[in-house]
């Protein structure tokens, strides 16, 4: 039955209470130590034997996100297969802050001599750690800054996004395409521009509507953003997010077309999948590890700013889905062949949303200029926050 509150006199003395607090904390502390001690392996000194390196991978999100991190993880699997005697360390959900430095330091303590930080935002932290450990090699995915022992690489996936845009432009009936974007950074803006230009090249009336979710992976926002776009009669949905399932499955259940990014997710959208862009990092990563092992890192292209184009095989066009008609397949495959031969789909004139000419007639910008994009091309509906 209900017990009334006990009178003060039976209250425990503050000292005794504190002792009990401490007792609990000590007990829990020991328990933690025991639990973790049993589960962990202690760091081993770096093995200098070839093929027996310790290699570390960092992902900004979960490795099975059906998107960016999954593509990077697939690359790490290729490395594992190619170097069976190497020890692979992995950390996922590593934020793009000084936390990443700590994770990298920990991997180095565990003997890592090659590190693959795979997110753009890991660049700053990686540069700091690189400075402190000149004997470790860093192969950073995505950035544009290097150091003596840090090289950075990426792929020109916006090239295949042009072809993907063509598929979208041909498939759409409403002439409205949708793009769910995480943040307004050059890489995402470039992809949207490529997509829209591709669509326009086969369908001059196609427009791309952009919504920013403000997060690389927030399924709640992704779902609402997708629904919002589809309510506006968008009938092809593309995205630039790290985790891709929600947008694709929302599009599929509402019966519209989907194009993909990062990985081949056609199994998620059996009816609506057209095509997409996907990464194949494996061969590149294996090659990089080999070069580092051979001691040829300095002076190799990987110690600098390395851009893999479509010809290298790092970027691929994802398989066509059932929704891709023969006409679409023909057009897109033709474009893909051009891309594989080295064509860059960004020849001027390119105008931004206000009509101003950003790339003059007949000029093709170089990679550096492209990757400084800060505007949307004409035909894109959406505002870039922070000015464009």
């Amino acid at each position: 039955m209900l017990k009334e509150e006990v009178v003060v006199s039976s209250r425990m003395s503050p000292l005794a209470r504190r002792k009990s607090t401490i007792g609990v904390i000590v007990a829990v502390g020991v328990a933690i130590a025991a639990a973790v001690g049993c589960g962990s392996s202690s760091g081993s000194p770096a093995s200098k034997e070839k093929g027996h390196e310790t290699i570390g991978f960092l992902y900004v999100g979960p490795h099975n996100d059906y998107g960016y991190n999954q593509a990077a993880y697939a690359g790490s699997l290729a490395v594992k297969r190619a170097f069976p005697a190497a020890k692979i360390l992995e950390a996922e959900n590593v934020p793009e802050t000084a936390e990443a430095e700590r994770v990298m330091e920990k991997m180095i303590r565990d003997g890592a001599t090659i590190l693959f930080p795979t997110s753009f935002g890991h660049l700053g932290p990686a540069m700091n750690v690189a400075r402190r450990h000149p004997d470790v090699r860093f192969l950073h995915m995505g950035g544009l800054k290097t150091a003596a022992n840090l090289g950075t690489y990426f792929g020109t996936i916006y090239d295949t996004q042009y072809a993907v845009g063509q598929a979208a432009g041909m498939a759409t009936k409403s002439n409205k395409l949708g793009y769910v974007v995480a943040f307004p950074i050059a890489q995402t803006l470039l992809n949207v521009n490529a997509f829209e230009r591709g669509a326009q090249s086969v369908n001059p009336r196609a427009k791309t509507y952009v919504v920013f979710t403000g997060s690389w992976c927030d399924p709640g926002k992704q779902a609402e953003a997708s629904n919002a776009l589809i309510d506006q009669k968008i009938d092809v949905l593309e995205q630039h997010q790290d985790c891709t399932k929600t947008v694709i499955q929302t599009a599929e259940r509402r019966g519209i077309f989907t194009t993909g990014y990062h990985v081949d997710a056609s199994s998620l959208a059996p009816h609506g999948w057209l095509t997409g862009s996907e990464w194949d990092w494996g061969p590149l990563m294996v090659q990089m590890v080999k070069i580092v092992e051979d001691g040829r890192f300095r002076g190799s292209p990987y110690s600098g700013i390395y851009r893999a184009g479509v010809p290298s095989g790092v970027i691929k066009l994802a398989p066509f889905g059932a929704a891709a008609t023969p006409a679409i397949r023909k057009q897109v495959t033709a474009t893909y062949d051009k891309l594989k031969a080295g064509w860059i789909p960004f020849k001027g004139p390119i105008r931004d949303q206000s009509g101003k000419v950003r790339v003059a007639v007949g000029v093709t910008p170089n990679r550096h200029q492209l990757e400084s994009t800060d505007y949307f091309v004409q035909g894109v509906v959406g505002k870039i926050p922070g000015g464009g």
Binding site: L2, N64, K221, A223, E224, A228, L268, V381
Partner: protein
């Protein structure tokens, strides 16, 4: 049409918060504040998703969610009712527990898929222009959620059990005097509240995002607690509150899709700022009396508490 889309989107994004808010309302009406609702929502979401993906049965998923949420809420109940610990600290710890556990146990499920909980258009009503798409073209869990407000209102004000619940929240001693155990009532209320929040989490993943990642609720559980205060502990107003939140989320995305020139970051603030603003306005109106026992939790800072010296 924009208004229709926004309202339909409002229901879609607000319904999970609604479940959590109504659950919190029941708990607070019995005299216990549960800041662990975020943890309960996450637990429900993971339990539903994992079960549905493993067994293929959405129903089992929903049941698992209810069980998981109830279990986590039970922890909070034990710590604050039986052990008489501070409710706010315990609730926050429970949310952390839920976040940590679901991140850990849920990691393998990030890549899994489920067959979604699909929409069921209510015959005849769903064809009604405007009201049709807004209210009658949703999934089963949403329909249940929409009915929650009225159902809980009926329960609170038209049933004996509801009266006992309210009495316990006002003053446990009174309830005791009439032969009811405040302890039992509170346990039931907290556990049931956690269960409702878990169902909200289940709706979020089974019908809306169709996906699981860690921290998928991003704060909805906490917002629900605020909404209960905003609603003055009234179930129908809590429904409105949840839709204010959901609506601002839906609106800002649609404004973006139309190329409106406002920073998405500022637009993203809207749900929270709006909730805060409405809380402010609501507080200035006639004093919203919290259940008597809740005032003790807030101590000197009870909202609208007439006995508080601080606000005298």
């Amino acid at each position: 049409m924009l208004l229709e889309d926004v309202l339909a989107g409002t229901v879609r994004s607000g319904i999970s918060v609604l479940y959590a808010a109504e659950g919190e309302l029941i708990s607070e009406r019995s005299g216990v504040i549960n800041l662990g609702m975020e943890g309960c929502m996450l637990t429900g979401a993971l339990a539903a998703f994992a079960t549905a993906s493993a067994t293929g049965s959405l129903l089992l998923g929903v049941l698992a969610a209810a069980g998981g949420g109830a279990l986590l809420a039970l922890v909070h109940a034990v710590v604050v009712i039986t052990c008489r610990a501070n409710q706010l600290a315990s609730g926050l710890a429970v949310s952390f527990l839920g976040l940590g556990l679901t991140s850990w146990l849920g990691a393998p499920y990030v890549s899994q898929s489920i067959s979604p909980l699909n929409r069921v258009n209510i015959p005849v009503l769903s064809a009604v222009p405007f009201a049709g798409p807004v209210l009658f073209q949703h999934d089963v869990l949403t329909y249940m959620g929409l009915a929650l407000g009225p159902l809980i209102w009926l329960f609170l004000y038209r049933t004996r059990a509801g009266l006992i619940l309210r009495a316990t929240g006002e003053d446990g001693a009174v309830a005791f005097a009439y032969g009811h155990s405040p302890t039992l009532v509170r346990y039931l209320a907290v556990v049931f509240g956690g269960m409702l929040a878990a169902l909200g989490g289940a709706q979020l993943v089974l019908a809306y995002t169709l996906n699981w990642v860690e921290n998928i609720t991003v704060g909805r559980g906490f917002v629900a607690v605020a909404l209960v205060i905003f609603a003055g502990w009234e179930p129908l107003r809590a429904t409105v509150g949840a839709f204010v939140f959901g609506g601002s989320l839906a609106l800002q995305l649609r404004l973006q899709a139309r190329g409106v020139d406002v920073s998405p970051f500022l637009l993203n603030m809207a749900p929270y700022v709006l909730t805060l603003a409405i809380l402010v306005v609501a507080s200035r109106g006639r004093a919203r009396r919290p259940p008597g026992e809740i005032r003790a939790v807030f101590g000197t800072s009870g909202p609208g508490s007439t006995r508080s010296a601080v606000d005298a």
